[in-house]
Symmetry: C2
DNA sequence: CGCCCTGTTGAGTTTTATCAATATTGGTGG
DNA sequence: CCACCAATATTGATAAAACTCAACAGGGCG
């Protein structure tokens, strides 16, 4: 199976064989096998290589002095961890795994070379960082305006679509290997409240959640209760005018 | 006085005379004078040129179906509006002025040319978009974890520092030409609660607010109550190794 | 078998929102 | 310069959403 990064970038534009091959190769050179709850990189450290999630889940997060934690975003296969890497000298947040994960480290010069060599690829990577920013803005909207039910269902819609984008949805089901406490830290809610809100969504038949498997019988219905509008994900091949011929 | 964009970028790296001149010129070619509460660009529109705030305040925002509004970020002089411009085909949020403002429109080819011509400038612009993303992450933390008092004082710290970065702070005072309702939309609080929280900060001697002038008698004190740590703003010249010689 | 981690439930509390009324302010025209 | 108006800020009272605390259940694993 292809690197999930390729699947992801091809939501923007079709890559050439060379570009795909280049990414494949980069994804296999320096792979870290990580356990759950390990840090990929920590706040205040200088970013070294570019980290790419190949399998498993991770998250960006930040602790406050007194131990409160906010999960800033979820990282799933195909996601790049530290686009800041090239310009900023130190991380302003940490990245940690949530599950066992395999993480590829792509050396800096390699990326620089690839971006110079393949302009289409450079555009695609730029797209990915802009989408990442768009997702962050949407989280701002959720945390600022949406109530617990909307917030949770909105997050589930987003996750479902993002997983589908890299081929990790089967039928109406996907993995959701995340504890309620972690959802709570992402949503700015207490675990108790997340628990009750999940039950509410289940009772309404909007989701199923058994083991670590999330099922969404009707995505439109879930999107409706979330007030979810997918266009911030920019998944509709906005770079199709750049498509490779092959 | 120099374009605020130059001041801003020089928090990252010192630009050459050519680069500065280029930016100055670009800032003066197509200038829009806008009134308060006008849209610079609207959600779902294709971004055309790159908009740069020369004076006045604006914000990114998004409405939900039922009229709730979240202000996603504040834009002050020196801020670029639509870094997405180059790659994304449509805006996923709107940008509107809060006060009368002058906005420069920089044509796309011009930017592309400048970034190819001046690598240092390209790095600086990249830095600015990464800082923008870092600020968005910090808003996520605020909205998710901080209570009303922390949230408000954190925002005021951020605004104060950003304004200082472009030379818009005099002594311990700066302009804050923003209505309480707008603060509320940014902080995810009701206007009533913003009002009471402001009073609390005033009563504690942490801020003064008269007319549209904010005074911060002791920035460290305000930062302490906010739990504010400035390093996410990356203002400490992280690109100094790129400094122009002149 | 027992333990720890995660999820679930109930009760009471806190924060923040809502509603409605009143005060203040800045701007405008006379 | 004053009177008036609309927009903004302030206040009080009540309600809702979400939190905290504490206890208990279930499941996986040594």
């Amino acid at each position: 199976m292809p690197s999930p990064l390729i699947r992801k970038l091809e939501q923007f534009t079709r890559l050439s064989r060379d570009e795909r091959q280049m990414l494949e190769q980069a994804s296999f050179e320096a792979v870290r096998q990580m356990g759950p709850r390990e840090d990929v990189i920590r706040e205040r450290e200088p970013p070294q290589a570019l980290n790419l999630i190949l399998s498993g889940w991770a998250c960006r997060y930040k602790y406050l002095e007194d131990g409160r934690r906010q999960i800033i975003s979820f990282l799933i296969p195909g996601d790049l961890c530290d686009n800041p890497a090239f310009v900023l000298r130190e991380m302003d947040h940490s990245i940690g795994t949530l599950t066992p994960a395999t993480v590829a480290q792509i050396a800096r010069p390699r990326i620089e070379w690839a971006m110079a060599q393949y302009p289409r690829l450079a555009q695609a990577l730029w797209w990915e960082s802009l989408v990442c920013a768009a997702v962050q803005r949407e989280w701002t909207v959720s945390l600022g305006q949406r109530d617990a039910t909307e917030r949770l269902s909105h997050l589930l819609c987003e996750i479902f679509l993002r997983l589908r984008g890299v081929g990790l949805v089967e039928g109406d089901a996907c993995e959701l290997p995340v504890k309620q406490a972690e959802l709570a830290d992402a949503l700015g809610l207490s675990t108790v409240h997340v628990n009750r809100t999940l039950q509410e969504l289940r009772a309404a038949g909007l989701i199923g959640l058994k083991g670590k498997i999330l099922t969404v019988p009707s995505l439109p219905a879930l999107m409706a209760t979330a007030g979810f509008s997918p266009h911030y994900l920019h998944m509709d091949r906005e770079g199709r005018h750049l498509d490779a011929a092959e």
